[in-house]
């Protein structure tokens, strides 16, 4: 689910700075619509999202479910809404940085922000729009007693550098595409690879499953049906894992590293470290401008809070429109803002490519 190409190539790609008017954190429906409202005011945007696709909750949690309360659209499903938003913002040519998480925001000007991602990208932006929704989608952590000390030492939820696993005894847990893809990619490097899954059926792409089964029958790797129940090791270095088979029998597999793939869940994530005022893990904003307590940093959509806030897509759209007015003040301080309608303004229509 998380973007793999980046990870396969290793991620020390670049640290050249990318200049933008506005950086939008989160490409959910509200982050996407913000591109439109900013675009009408000649403000260019880059967007970063942890997911490998746009659309946030609508795309990840309910792509097939119909939504009935988008004004003037009686019925549209999550995926269709995202597709329509992408179509709507096309004229403004936003740049997407998918499969990356924004980790830090530094205020370095008046205002000017230096924003970095976990893939090492650096943005210089005149304003920042946090559209982080329910928080970042992050890998689920298995409820194995005492797993914490091993995390990032010998238990990993993502592969950053394949080479780190060369010559190791590897345990991969899961039955979806991430588990199977990494099984196939890491098997040639590993000393011995064991795939553990709770049942002898896999929801991953049939081609990957066939390849995995061929490796198992040729003796090149092991497949165990069961669930990991305990870990053994010291100082964060795993030495073995206990697996409970579907018949309840316990067995032990020696391993140096474990990669569990149990899908994603939403956690607040790095937003908590940005020294922006938070209230119950939400960002309080002014309802006139949707600016946070830090001038130049805005928060729109599910991540913000104010008296009467409703976590609805339509509220997020409204917030984006008002946010853009104030963002204009930072991005084009020299320009006067004139209120215009898309129906009648030739200047807006030019931007939209229809005049």
């Amino acid at each position: 689910m998380l973007q793999k190409t980046d990870q396969l190539l290793g991620t020390e790609t670049m640290s050249e700075e990318i200049n933008t008017d506005v950086l939008i954190i989160g490409a959910g429906p509200v982050g996407l619509f913000a591109v439109f409202e900013l675009g009408l005011l000649d403000i260019k945007a880059h967007l970063v999202d942890i997911l490998d696709k746009v659309g946030g909750q609508c795309a990840e949690l309910y792509p097939e479910k119909p939504i009935f309360d988008i004004p003037a659209i009686p019925r549209i499903n999550g995926k269709e809404l995202c597709d329509a938003l992408i179509e709507q913002i096309k004229p403004f040519k936003p740049s997407f940085h998918l499969g990356e998480m924004v980790t830090t925001i530094e205020n370095i000007g008046d205002p000017l922000f230096r924003v970095t991602t976990d893939a090492g990208k650096v943005f210089l932006s005149k304003a920042v729009v946090i559209a982080a929704g329910g928080g970042s989608f992050q890998p689920k952590r298995p409820p194995i007693q005492g797993i914490e000390p091993y995390e990032e030492k010998s238990v990993f939820y993502a592969v950053r550098k394949m080479d780190a696993f060369r010559g190791k005894n590897l345990l991969i847990v899961g039955g979806g595409d991430s588990a199977l893809d990494w099984t196939l990619n890491l098997q040639p490097l590993a000393r011995r690879l064991t795939l553990v899954h709770r049942r002898d059926e896999f929801r991953a792409a049939p081609d990957s499953v066939n390849k995995m089964r061929a490796l198992v029958s040729s003796g090149a790797m092991d497949l165990k049906i069961g669930q990991v129940t305990a870990l053994k090791g010291e100082n964060g270095q795993l030495t073995a894992a206990t697996i409970k088979g579907s018949d309840g029998a316990l067995s032990t597999v020696a391993c140096d590293a474990m990669l569990p793939f149990f899908g994603l869940t939403m956690k607040l994530g790095p937003v908590a470290n940005w020294s922006i005022k938070l209230e119950n893990d939400l960002i309080p904003v002014s309802t006139a401008t949707f600016e946070t307590n830090v001038p130049g940093i805005f928060a729109v959509g599910d991540i913000n809070t104010y008296p009467g806030k409703l976590k609805l897509i339509l509220s997020g759209f409204h917030e984006a429109a008002l946010m853009a007015q104030k963002a204009h003040h930072y991005v084009h301080p020299e320009k006067r803002l004139v209120f215009q309608y898309t129906t009648s303004s030739t200047s807006l229509q030019k931007k939209l490519g229809v005049a």
Binding site: L61, Y62, P142, G176, R198, E201, Q227, G263, T265
Partner: protein, 107 residues
């Protein structure tokens, strides 16, 4: 109205009135049973609404669909009687249903 009993991992027991047609997940949320998270709101895409159906009730509730079985791969400590509660519709035949909720739903 069919009664449903939720037993949480610490033994806390809640017997509530279900509404035929609603799901076992929705019934839990309406009654403030916090060990059902239901992040995706019933979309069968998050596996944070896991329950273990009481052994005696398991044959009556029935097995998961193929789609649900796939999603169970993202849940933890899955047992043969485990189901995603958003995929169980409350009916009069389920009056008296007992489900156990796990200590951890993945978040």
């Amino acid at each position: 109205m069919p009664k449903i009993t939720y037993i949480e991992h610490d033994g806390a027991t809640h017997t509530v009135e279900g509404e035929a047609g609603a799901t076992v997940m929705e019934t839990a949320l309406r009654n403030g049973i916090a060990s059902i998270v239901a992040e995706c709101g019933g979309g069968c895409t998050c596996a944070t609404c896991l329950v273990h159906v009481d052994d005696a009730w398991s044959p009556i509730v029935g097995p998961p669909s193929a789609e649900e079985e796939d999603m169970l791969d993202s849940a933890f400590e899955v047992k043969p009687t485990s189901r995603l509660s958003c995929q169980i519709k409350v009916t009069d035949a389920l009056d008296g249903l007992i489900v156990r909720t796990p200590a951890y739903q993945g978040r």
